[in-house]
Amino acid sequence: MRELIEFFRPHLLPLLYALVIVAVLPLIAGYVVLVERKVMADMQARLGPMRVGPHGLLQPIADAVKLLLKEDIIPENADVWIFWLAPLLSVTAGMLALSALPFGPAFQIADLNIGLLFIVGISSMGIFGIVLGGWASNSHYSLLGALRSSAQLVSYETAAGMALVSALLLAGTLSMATIVRVQEHKGVWFVFVAPIAFFTYLVASIAETNRAPFDLPEAESELVAGYMTEYSGFRWALYFLAEYTNMIVVGSIATVMFLGGWLRPFPNVHALDFFDYVPAVLMLAVAGYCLWRAPKQPVTVQKLFLVAVAGLCALVAAILAAPLFGVPYLSKAALHGGFWFLLKVFLYIYVFMWLRFTFPRYRFDQLMRLGWHFLIPVSIVNVMGIGVALVLHRQFGWAKWLAFLVTTVGTLAVAGYLAATDERHETAMVGGDA
């Protein structure tokens, strides 16, 4: 027995983290859905969910309960076994990928030395969940959706991978935590060094998570719900969870690789140390807003609930502020790191939402053309450009900013050329029979 305890001792903290992630993730995903609906409503001149709890704050929980209680339908000619397995695969892939991500300097399940490769590999397994689910449903719409999505994921994985390679060249390591430390050490987020790589990854990650304007696998006006058409109830919820987990994963990858992970803006400039107050002040502001809204709620319970939310926010603010006043046991790096990390991830996801409600949807051939004719060449050129910049800097002693400016401009020129030829190609296609 003692041996067993000794054996597990070093794994205790990671296990705890894993438990926290598995327990909290569905909740976070639910609230991301709520935020998405609220953002959508705001952009579309509506209010969004308002009924369950004040300002719809309990909507995710109500949704979850509804989904759990729904009848579980399995189509008659479905391959039951695979129909069962597919959503689980999707969720597992998403959650496993989270295990190698550093949410803060202290909060990471495992700092693998092949961290990035692991995450990319594991999240690519999410394809199976989609493809097998679409196939097992035994429906034309599902199968078409599944085939589309697998083709899409495979195509855009290349571009995303190339964009990440650019950042890898700069960091010189695959370990996620070390990549952030390199950015801290160099005093610059990689998005400023390799902006094209960042935007390539942004586009590719939208495509990889099947979000609009690349949401063809689940294009509701064409394929009803794509691979999820035949799913209902809890299994459907699992697919949804997987989708939002994947969003969090790609957001985290982008944050780590390009946006400085858990670092606050300008971590090395002491003149800007007032940024350390931002987390606490921000949470206090949210608490204040809740208190301000509380008396305007129609029902007493809702008033109390909003006050409770305000209290929670204030508590978080207090915890975030504590290290600044020298309270022991609360490490500033860990707490603020987590805050900044999540803030960046959610900003990234906000961009996803913003794009979703602004743009129409691509057609499948256009999507493929964008991926293969534009993104992949640009990302390959970008990798070479970064390599050239590094050589110029290290071997020829160019100033860093000059080297990267030159290569970025060069890559932009190539991108512009590609876009121009693509447009010509497109107009030529229209004339003939596409």
């Binding site: 609009a212 294009a219 509701e220 006006s221 064409e222 949807r361 499948f364 497109e426 596409a434």
Partner: protein, 379 residues
């Protein structure tokens, strides 16, 4: 596959090549705008043939007319194109007036014009929202419905109904305009100018929108005329034909407006034409409310309508195209036969021509761009 099979008429859809499948869209499909059923013959994702199967919403409107008096049938026409009920009503009322040899008084004609043009804006707004939604843009729908709501409020204040308004009566209007009618219409028209710019900012220059609509569903002018399509679909193909100008009815001869036309006859041109039509409708409304003549709102036609035996065809420019009523009277209180020429039904015939060679994703764009209402197609 340059196969001879692909050029066979639709009835040969059962003859399939090695890579061809039949995909059945509808009648329960989110973007067939009701209960249209489309059978598509696909080569991969490419459409090589199509067949529209209609009739799921058939209610026998034309037959009902034979058992109702002329006034009693008027509300039924609202239920054909329920997105543009006012226009349907106008066509019917004017057809019967023509049969009777009566004419609505000037005030009624101007109010009719205003309401019909507002209805055109409503119909186009609804089209824009759903069409954009089909192509994947979620947001315009809500903007469009927001403005549509304003007009529906005007309708509601005027006649008590929002959708199936039954706003007009044979011989003129049943209701006087309410106090502040002119003001509200004017305020709407003034606000609406910016709103159209807002929609255009979202879509017109958008690369994805251009990619999805340009060159999709091309209908040449010759084809358009051959199929007998009308309305914006016809005008987008470059044919400058609008019944409001060609055979003016109501009070259209008094107002200045342009007929927008396109050149390529593709989905994008139809989009532009409809956007411009909304602007023109707005201008017509503004001109009309400036000077609404006073006077009676009903012609003297009596309570019981007994038109002399004979037949009449009258058509107007509804939002979706030419809506025509062919009415035969045998001298009794009930029509002997009413035949409706619904624009959606005729326009839908061009669907197969427009859809061939395109991808499945374009099918929904093309269904949207024809702007069908199944209530009208099936009647």
């Amino acid at each position: 596959m340059a196969d001879t099979r692909t050029t066979l008429p639709n009835t040969e859809m059962t003859v399939l090549g090695a890579d061809e499948i039949i995909l059945n869209m509808g009648p329960q499909h989110p973007s067939t705008h009701g209960v249209l059923r489309v059978k598509l013959k696909l080569d991969g994702e490419k459409v090589v043939g199509s067949e529209c199967i209609i009739g799921y919403l058939h209610r026998g409107v034309e037959k009902i007319a034979e058992h109702r008096s002329y006034q009693q049938f008027a509300p039924y026409v609202d239920r054909m194109d329920y997105v543009a009920a006012v226009s349907n009503g106008l066509g019917y009322c004017e057809a019967i007036e023509k049969l009777l040899g009566a004419e609505a008084p000037p005030r009624a004609r101007v109010v009719r014009t205003i309401l019909t043009e507002l209805q055109r804006i409503v119909s186009h707004l609804f089209w824009l929202g759903t069409h954009a939604l089909d192509i994947g843009a979620l947001t315009p729908l809500f903007y469009c419905l927001r403005e549509r709501e304003e007009i529906l409020k005007i309708f509601e204040k005027y006649c008590g109904a929002r959708l199936t308004t039954h706003a007009f009566r044979i011989g003129g209007l049943q209701y006087e305009t309410y106090d502040g009618f002119e003001m509200e219409v004017e305020r709407f028209c003034n606000d609406f100018a910016h709103k159209i710019d807002e929609y255009e900012a979202l879509l017109t220059e958008n690369r994805i929108w251009l990619g999805r609509t340009k060159g999709v569903g091309v209908l040449s002018a010759a084809d358009a005329i051959a199929f007998g399509v009308s309305g914006p679909v016809l005008r987008a193909s470059g044919v400058k034909w609008d019944i409001r100008k060609a055979m003016p009815y109501a009070a259209y001869d008094q107002y200045k407006f342009e007929i927008p036309t396109g050149q390529n006859g593709d989905t994008y041109d139809r989009y532009l034409v409809r956007m411009e039509e909304m602007r023109q409708s707005r201008l017509i409304c503004l001109q009309a409310i400036e000077n609404i003549p006073t006077g009676p709102i009903m012609a003297r036609i009596g309570k019981v309508l007994k038109p002399p035996p004979g037949e009449v065809y009258h058509s107007i420019e509804a939002p979706k195209g030419e809506i025509g009523y062919y009415v035969v009277s045998d001298g009794t209180t009930q029509p002997y036969r009413v035949r409706v020429r619904p624009p959606s039904f005729i326009n839908l015939q061009a669907f197969d021509k427009m859809v061939r060679g395109h991808l499945v994703a374009d099918v929904v764009a093309i269904i949207g761009t024809i702007d069908i209402v199944l209530g009208e197609v099936d009647r």
